[in-house]
């Protein structure tokens, strides 16, 4: 098998895992087996997987958003720990205290305030810089989050202090039901350049392209240590959150992305037999992990609150 094919398979596995996971979460909500809320990333898997395949969590930091199941799974593959967290089980990555939006595992952090982690991420980058440590900080944010003032302040700080931060904008066209471009004056690329940051753009259709594109940026920032901003055009096929009926979507965009689903594209590069095996294995694995979580214990106020 050539290197390219191995890569497609590796990345496909991760993308498929995320998609199966998110679909299962949706199902569990429908069945009333999950409390709280959740934000799925079906359709956007190529960004999480392509970007994070480059990352080394032992020295890099990653910050996520409210929509970070995919980021976590791409980084760690820990299905049991994530679903435990969503179900409020003691076996969750933060003992069920966080739930879907408040994840923490090693150098990976998310939080529920959109874009609120961007200033924090600049601080992580600052620490890297001040300590003279290796490693960089990769931070995801959404198109909606781009209009939050603290995000813009933070982009300026990164530029002023030249921190090793990579900002990854997952522009999925919508902020909840809001079509972001209708509520954004000017263009993101110009704005980012207005903050003196190096700006890159890619339509995230092919996970291997995302991977390769990001790899170059990542390696440069690892070495040259200055902040970079990467915008990915992507798309969410699922609702914003569990209760969203997606009545606001733009048909043209829907059609385009369904015809160009990055999962399908990746799949088409892999022999059918391999796909079949891989998918079966992953589906079984996810089912099995969900079952195991059902049996896992709940946290105990006496032990687990702090």
């Amino acid at each position: 098998m050539d290197v390219d094919r191995t890569l497609y398979i590796r990345l496909y596995k991760k993308m498929f895992l995320i998609r199966v996971f998110e679909a299962k979460v949706e199902e569990m909500f429908r069945l009333g087996k999950l409390r709280g809320t959740t934000h799925g990333c079906i359709g956007q898997e190529a960004v999480a997987v392509g970007v994070l395949e480059n990352v080394d969590l032992s020295r890099d930091y990653v910050t996520g958003t409210h929509r970070s199941h995919g980021h976590f799974l791409a980084l760690t593959g820990k299905v049991f720990e994530l679903i435990s967290e969503l179900m409020g089980k003691k076996t969750g990555i933060v003992r069920g205290k966080g739930g879907s939006q408040h994840l923490h595992y090693g150098n990976f952090y998310t939080n529920g305030i959109t874009g609120g982690m961007i200033p924090v991420a600049v601080g992580l980058g600052m620490a890297k810089k001040l300590k003279g440590e290796e490693g960089v900080v990769i931070s995801f944010l959404g198109d909606g989050g781009m209009n939050e003032g603290y995000v813009m302040e933070a982009l300026n700080l990164a530029g002023v202090y030249k921190t090793p931060n990579i900002f990854v904008l997952e522009n999925n066209c919508y902020a909840m039901s809001t079509i972001t471009e209708n509520f954004t004056s000017g263009k993101f690329d110009e704005r980012v350049k207005g903050f003196g940051l190096e700006y890159h753009y890619l339509k995230a259709l092919d996970v291997v392209e995302v991977y390769g594109f990001f790899k170059k940026i990542y390696e440069r920032v690892r070495k040259e240590r200055y902040p970079v901003f990467v915008e990915f055009e992507t798309y969410r096929f699922c609702g914003h959150s569990k209760s969203d009926r997606r009545e606001y979507v733009v048909k043209e965009w829907e059609d385009f992305w369904h015809a160009n689903d990055p999962l399908e594209k990746c799949r088409s590069r892999i022999p059918a037999k391999v796909v079949e095996d891989v998918e079966k294995e992953i589906i079984n694995f996810v089912e099995e992990e969900f079952r195991r979580v059902l049996a896992a214990p709940y946290p105990d106020p006496g032990e687990d609150l702090f």
Binding site: G36, K90, G96, H102, G112, P301
Partner: protein, 328 residues
């Protein structure tokens, strides 16, 4: 009528009656109608009166303040009560100052759904309204199901001073009670102060304990009230305030029938709403006062932990029995 309908109907009437009323916020227009659907349908009928915004809580709150300065009557929706943390500067260092230093009447309401019990986790479950309590030039109000939430909204908008209006996520789907006999054994009276005060007590009985509360806690206290009555034969009364930052202590003291008062809030107890209320009651009427509120932890998502941190029927029930077992 449901709480959410009362709010939505009032918004509808306000838009209809008064050209200067505008609604501002994220995802408030069709087809979404707000994260909790409070503004659902309104943008169809009043397309130019709903101002949907990008995610910029600070600036659109500031924008609403400017509109109010210019004589309009904006109603801002902050999607979750937790995000009022973002508009503290615009409210405290701007709106509240214009109100007394510049002597401007401002017709401005900032509505936001507060509270937990839904497993949303630490940044989507808090009761942060305490931040604005006692700040001169800002009033904090909270409707509940013991009087018309729409009326609280309407009075807030015509008050002439910035109002933070705290809704409760779980209340949206609940039915509002009508004054008079409730469930055959209780009776609800509504005292029409500037903002209404409601009292729900056992019919024809005096109360052995009084609960003073606001917002979504009313529903939990109704369960406590029944449990006390049916399991322990103890009579209690729920006194629910809607003006929670400038309530009339004398009225409350008059309404309290028992010598024992339990002040119940969903927010953290320490330096909470109840600290002031309990102190007032203690100093004004020398009542026996205890408090129940959230325990001092961030609100966890997991159900058993969330129910440990937030006040529950059981915890309030037990606290009540403990109080009643002590001499006054």
């Amino acid at each position: 009528m449901k709480y959410i309908e009362a709010l939505r109907n009032t918004l509808h009437h306000l838009l209809e009656e008064d050209d200067s009323v505008y609604i501002i916020g994220e995802d408030i227009s069709e087809p979404y109608g707000g994260a909790f659907k409070v503004t659902k349908g309104l943008s169809k009928k009043f397309p130019e009166r709903l101002i949907q915004t990008p995610m910029s809580e600070q600036a659109f709150t500031g924008m609403a303040i400017g509109m109010a300065l210019a004589g309009l009557k904006p109603i801002v929706e902050i999607m979750f009560g937790d995000f009022i943390a973002l508009v503290v500067d615009q409210l405290i260092n701007h709106a509240s100052k214009f109100w007394d230093i510049y002597g401007k009447k401002l017709h401005l309401v900032l509505r936001t759904p507060s509270g937990g019990y839904r497993g949303y986790g630490a940044t989507h479950s808090q009761s942060l309204e305490r931040i604005f309590m006692g700040i001169p030039g800002i009033k904090v109000v909270a409707p509940n199901i013991l009087s018309d939430p729409g009326e609280v909204l309407r009075r807030s908008l015509y008050l002439g001073k910035p109002v933070v209006l705290i809704e409760n996520k779980l209340d949206y789907g609940r039915e509002i009670l009508e004054s008079g006999v409730v469930d055959e054994v209780f009776t609800l009276s509504i005292y029409d102060a500037t903002f209404p005060v409601s009292k729900l007590k056992v019919l024809n009985e005096s109360s052995e304990i009084s609960f003073i509360t606001y917002g979504g806690m009313v529903q939990i206290l109704r369960d406590v009230q029944r449990k006390l009555l049916f399991e322990e034969d103890i009579t209690s009364e729920i006194i629910a305030l809607t003006d929670i930052s400038d309530y009339d202590v004398n009225l409350i003291v008059q309404l309290v029938e028992s010598k024992r008062v339990l002040v119940v809030e969903e927010g953290w107890s320490h330096f909470g709403w109840g600290s002031q209320v309990a102190l007032d009651l203690r100093l004004m009427a020398n009542l026996e006062v205890r408090r129940v509120g959230a325990r001092p932890f961030n609100i966890p998502a997991a159900e058993p932990l969330e129910n440990h941190v937030l006040p529950t029927v059981d915890r309030i029930f037990e606290e009540t029995l403990r109080m009643l077992s002590q001499e006054v």
